[in-house]
């Protein structure tokens, strides 16, 4: 068994998916942020709404901002969140 990835959700994304954090094994064939988003979207209506195409979800991998093309590996910390609004 390979190491799971940790997935974090923040702000309205957290509220929409209904969880702040989960751990799961990277699904077969999911090697990038874009592929993970496709996979999450198919999980249920909360996820589908949170990751609706054309939305403004941002992603960080191992605490650095990521793009849809960023590759994923077992053990990664992957975070999804809206555009930031601090300051």
């Amino acid at each position: 068994m390979s190491q799971p990835v940790r997935i974090l959700y923040f702000a309205w994304l957290r509220e929409r998916v209904g969880t702040a954090e989960e751990a799961l094994a990277l699904p077969e064939g999911v090697g990038t942020v874009a592929a993970l988003i496709d996979w999450l979207r198919a999980r249920g209506p909360g996820f589908a709404a949170a990751f609706a195409p054309g939305g403004s979800v941002r992603c960080a991998v191992n605490q650095d901002f990521a793009t849809p093309q960023t590759t994923l590996a077992p053990g990664d910390e992957i975070a999804f969140f809206p555009p930031v609004t601090g300051g």
């Binding site: 974090l8 923040f10 702000a11 309205w12 403004s56 960080a60 605490q63 650095d64 901002f65 975070a79 969140f81 809206p82 555009p83 930031v84 609004t85 601090g86 300051g87």
Partner: protein, 153 residues
């Protein structure tokens, strides 16, 4: 020379400024910005503002922003303090300090730091309104434009 902090408690501007300048006499000016909670948004009354963040990444992002400011400007040090949790109108949210031999660098760095902090550090604001509603603040195009001023290359 950067100090970066995320905290629930209020900050003391005078103490932070004193700490930045402690033991050195080469500073000609300190630029500073304090962001505060306004009591209205889009014409609606706000009763509170709650700030969520991404522990771990927040500190990394703030340290990277401070390092970028120190690389771009002739700074002798800078301080970034951002509060989290629930704040009342009038409360201070964020403190930026930039110390330099001359005022132009201190003031330019202050603007840079707050612009990048608003667009590159993982904080999210939720506003609670007088009518009981609570809504996440949408990112402002103006903030993205302000941050884009500092792009180069």
């Amino acid at each position: 020379m950067a100090t970066v902090r995320v905290q629930a408690e209020p900050f003391d501007v005078g103490a932070a400024m004193a700490a930045l300048g402690a033991g050195r006499n080469d500073i000609g000016g300190i630029g500073c910005f304090v962001g505060t909670v306004r009591d209205t948004a889009g014409g609606r009354k706000i009763t509170a503002m709650t700030l969520e963040h991404y522990p771990g990444m927040t500190e990394r992002a703030m340290a990277a922003i401070a390092a970028e400011a120190e690389a771009r400007f002739d700074l002798l040090g800078c301080t970034l303090i951002h509060r989290i949790g629930t704040l009342q109108p009038g409360a201070a949210i964020v403190l930026v300090l930039a110390a330099a031999p001359h005022r132009a660098a201190a003031l330019a760095a202050t603007g840079f730091l707050i612009d990048w902090l608003k667009t590159r550090a993982p904080f999210w604001k939720k506003e609670s309104f007088a009518d009981g509603a609570a809504e996440w603040v949408a990112a402002h195009d103006a903030d993205a434009a302000a941050a884009a001023r500092w792009q180069h290359g």
